[in-house]
């Protein structure tokens, strides 16, 4: 059994359906506060001139976290659009997934997929990696082992609005212990290319599979193990 619902302009699948009202409410709350597609969201109000110091703790916390990631990734990840508007869409979905994961902490054997990013209750799940050149095909699959619970993939997407910069890669998949690290680093590597890839693999305990625009693959040693499992 699986429960599928729309939120944040994408689709979330939860298998099996556990604590559905709570999980759905978490995504709805993040979307309510952070969506720039909703004219009345708090972040839209900030865009329209509401001072940050008058904004909620949740908004300032999310912005501070995003700024922290900007520093850690040498600017490859950024919470600002080129026009200077604060856009937290690069981190909000992961924040919601992380919060949902904490609500589901006492349950086992679940899988949460939000718009192509995956969070699992624990090891054992086989996660397919989409083929960027064939949207109905799989490039490969990874087996989540040990503490690995999160898989995030960033690419030249149907929705390219949170990745800017000139592209080296066509698609980047990051496997990590938590979804925020996986999602932010996947986005950052897409934006920053090889320099950011090396920064990420040097500074974080993550496994990465990247495909450049010519179709060449690169993988960390840990990823080689995961794709062979």
């Amino acid at each position: 059994m699986i429960y599928v619902f729309e939120t944040m302009g994408t689709v979330v699948s939860l298998e099996p359906p556990l604590k559905v009202p709570e999980v759905e409410a978490i995504f709805a709350a993040y979307d309510e506060r952070f969506s720039l597609y909703r004219p009345t969201s708090e972040l839209s109000q900030v865009r329209d001139g509401k001072p940050l110091h008058d904004s909620s703790q949740q908004l300032r916390d999310a912005y501070a976290l995003a700024l922290d990631w900007r520093e850690k990734t040498g600017g490859a990840f950024t919470p600002h659009r080129p026009d200077g508007i604060i856009d937290l869409s690069g981190i909000v979905k992961a924040l919601a997934m992380d919060a949902a994961g904490r609500v589901l902490r006492d349950k086992s054997n679940w899988l949460l997929n939000a718009g192509g990013d995956v969070l699992a209750s624990g090891p054992g799940a086989s996660v397919g990696i989409a083929d960027p050149s064939d949207r109905l095909g799989l490039l490969t699959s990874v087996m989540l082992v040990n503490e690995r619970r999160a898989v995030a993939t960033s690419g030249i997407a149907e929705r390219g609005d949170h990745i800017w910069g000139r592209g080296t890669f066509a698609q980047v998949t990051v496997v990590a212990d938590d979804i925020i690290t996986a999602d932010v680093l996947a986005t950052a590597i897409m934006a920053g290319g090889w320099d950011t890839l090396n920064l990420a693999t040097d500074g974080w305990d993550v496994d990465v599979l990247a495909i450049d625009r010519a179709g060449n693959l690169a993988a960390t040693p840990g990823m080689r193990t995961l794709v062979a499992a």
């Binding site: 059994m1 699986i2 599928v4 729309e6 302009g9 994408t10 689709v11 699948s13 298998e15 979905k93 899988l111 997929n113 718009g115 192509g116 990013d117 995956v118 799940a125 086989s126 996660v127 397919g128 990696i129 989409a130 960027p132 949207r135 109905l136 095909g137 799989l138 490039l139 490969t140 699959s141 898989v151 995030a152 993939t153 960033s154 690419g155 030249i156 997407a157 149907e158 929705r159 949170h162 890839l197 090396n198 693999t201 040097d202 305990d205 993550v206 990465v208 599979l209 990247a210 060449n216 693959l217 690169a218 993988a219 960390t220 040693p221 840990g222 990823m223 080689r224 794709v227 062979a228």
Partner: protein
Amino acid sequence: MKTRVVVGSAIASLAVLVTGWVVGTTSNIPVATSATKLADGKYTGDTEQTRYGAVQVEITVSGGAITDVAALQLTNADSRSQEISNTAAPILRDEVLKAQTASVATVSGATYTTEGYLTSLQSALDKAKA
């Protein structure tokens, strides 16, 4: 890459050590200048604990100059160091196992829109499990 850094840092420590000897026996001329004459022979540095593990080097001095540097202990020599280098390297498509949709529990892909989802693999998987 990291090995080189570690050896470099160990050599730096050794240089300090050698400087100490030189200062003690001759004058306070920096060891790096060619004016300093080191006695020929082999000098073993202390074992340095680096974040990558224990590193120890030995230098050979001949004619007053360092002619060789050898690693007596190097983190690369043990299995722990194998985990340390996490650098991504090219991998052939044949080296990654092809996966069938039926064999995976879910699909990770670039963020899809609600519309894109309808024609995605994940959508097909979800329908099969509904």
